[in-house]
């Protein structure tokens, strides 16, 4: 079985791991680095629960081979909180708006929201819908998630 050592940055910390070449990024994050916040809902890039930021862009980490993340900068849901435990404005907004029910889609949804607000700091309704299309949520009917995105947008613009 082929193996490779990869070095990458995860949530701002350097990581060096020995991985099988057939492992996906999501399995390395979850099983080797213990970052269980990245969820597996389908394994085929269709539900978005495993979304992480890779070099600043959201990707479904179940479709990325770990070896392809060599040298990359990865941010997962665990990388958003501040050291003192205060939440990222997007996380705060999701809590306040009630945008979290079972919560299984939430980490991916939060990552996509962050990328969305990066691109559109004051998103229109269309931009929100478009930006979150790759994240399925079955609990909320998306309504409170849309609300949370707008709350987060305001919070972030306020700084």
């Amino acid at each position: 079985m082929d193996m490779k050592t990869i070095s990458f940055s995860v949530n701002g910390k350097p990581q060096k791991v020995h991985v099988r070449t057939n492992w996906t990024l999501s399995s390395v994050l979850r099983e080797q680095l213990g970052l269980l916040g990245t969820k597996i809902g389908c394994g085929e890039g269709e539900c978005g629960a495993c979304s992480v930021l890779m070099n600043g862009k959201t990707v479904t980490s179940c479709l990325v081979l770990a070896v392809q993340a060599d040298g990359a900068e990865i941010i997962t849901i665990e990388g958003l909180e501040n050291m003192d435990g205060t939440l990222h404005p997007v996380q705060e907004a999701f809590v306040e708006a009630g945008a979290v029910q079972c919560g299984y889609c939430t980490p991916g949804m939060v990552m996509s929201t962050i990328a969305l607000l990066e691109k559109h700091p004051e998103p229109t309704e269309e931009e929100v819908r478009e930006g979150l299309t790759g994240n399925l949520c079955r609990c909320t009917g998306y309504q409170k998630i849309f609300e949370a995105v707008q709350i987060a947008s305001k919070k972030m613009r306020r700084g």
């Binding site: 079985m1 082929d2 057939n22 978005g48 479904t60 392809q68 969305l116 790759g134």
Partner: protein, 286 residues
């Protein structure tokens, strides 16, 4: 079972050399087709050559004969490229219609063609824009118009040892109008039930065409570039009858089937409907 032999070339030269030495090696671009398929087939052994380490593959730039889009450019890069938005607007639009943000961040424009799925969204605008695929191997480069690139479901003209370097898109004539339609079941993240791209070169100040191109997706084993449309050159596109004729003429070259996305019958109707709508949209009549 389960093993992946992985190679990451640093340059184009290294890549084509590797491909020629390793006939079993597959190109890995965004992986959004390849990895999904691999998982669905029980993760068989694979030999992969990852082209994402080669920056040259992702380049987009002006050439004398047109605009070059590297095969490794992501769908997101294509979608947001200002030059493409300006000169090839329906390529940008089709790109925006692919999957989701996450998929577009990974998927490449080259992969969309090389995967040779009849439903691939960006293929249709590339066909009507008369894109040429630039194919490379150790023996050099060759070109193939995209409409002749596909030979069967999942099959392209590329032979072992060859790979796609990118596309060259000639600059459209000034009189050109275009439109694109992706008819799908749901608004977000869906493959096309029927896809249509239309390019028309209008006679100055008129609603008649000097030249019409139509490409159809998801309606046969490979994307369809409608042949013989010259016979409509000069026809008055503001006439319902002409629209209907063009749509039906196009439909005759399609061979839609029934699957979970739609029946043969519905697809047939939607080809005709969407071709008509696309022409109207392109020449701005409703």
């Amino acid at each position: 079972m389960n093993n992946i032999k992985y190679f990451l070339p640093k340059s184009l030269e290294e890549a084509v050399k590797y491909l020629s030495d390793n006939n079993d090696a597959k190109v890995l671009a965004g992986g959004t087709d390849l990895i999904v398929k691999w998982k669905k087939t029980g993760c068989p052994d694979m030999h992969l050559m990852d082209i994402r380490g080669i920056n040259k593959f992702a380049e987009m730039n002006d050439l004398s004969e047109g605009f070059f889009i590297g095969a490794g450019a992501t769908i997101e890069q294509v979608e947001s490229c200002e030059k493409i938005k300006a000169d090839f607007p329906i390529l940008s639009e089709a790109a925006r219609n692919v999957g989701s943000v996450q998929v577009r961040n990974l998927a490449t424009i080259g992969g969309n063609s090389c995967n040779a799925a009849p439903s691939a969204d960006t293929v249709l605008p590339l066909i009507v824009y008369e894109a040429e695929a630039v194919i490379v191997s150790v023996s050099g480069e060759k070109r193939c118009t995209l409409k002749d690139f596909f030979v069967g479901p999942g099959k392209t003209v590329m032979r072992p040892g060859e790979m796609l370097k990118g596309f060259v898109l000639p600059k459209p004539k000034p009189c050109t109008v275009v439109s694109f339609a992706k008819h799908s079941r749901r608004a977000g993240m869906d493959l096309a039930t029927v896809g249509v791209a239309v390019k028309i070169c209008l006679k100055k100040g008129e609603k008649s065409a000097e030249e019409i191109s139509v490409a159809l997706g998801a309606v046969g084993p490979v994307p369809v570039s409608v042949k013989g449309l010259e016979k409509f050159n000069g026809a008055d596109l503001s006439s319902d009858n002409v629209l209907k004729e063009i749509a039906e003429f196009s439909f005759e070259q399609a061979s839609p089937i029934t699957d979970v996305r739609g029946s043969k019958d519905y697809r047939s109707k939607m080809i005709v409907q969407n071709v008509k709508d696309c022409i109207c949209k392109a020449i701005k009549i409703d």
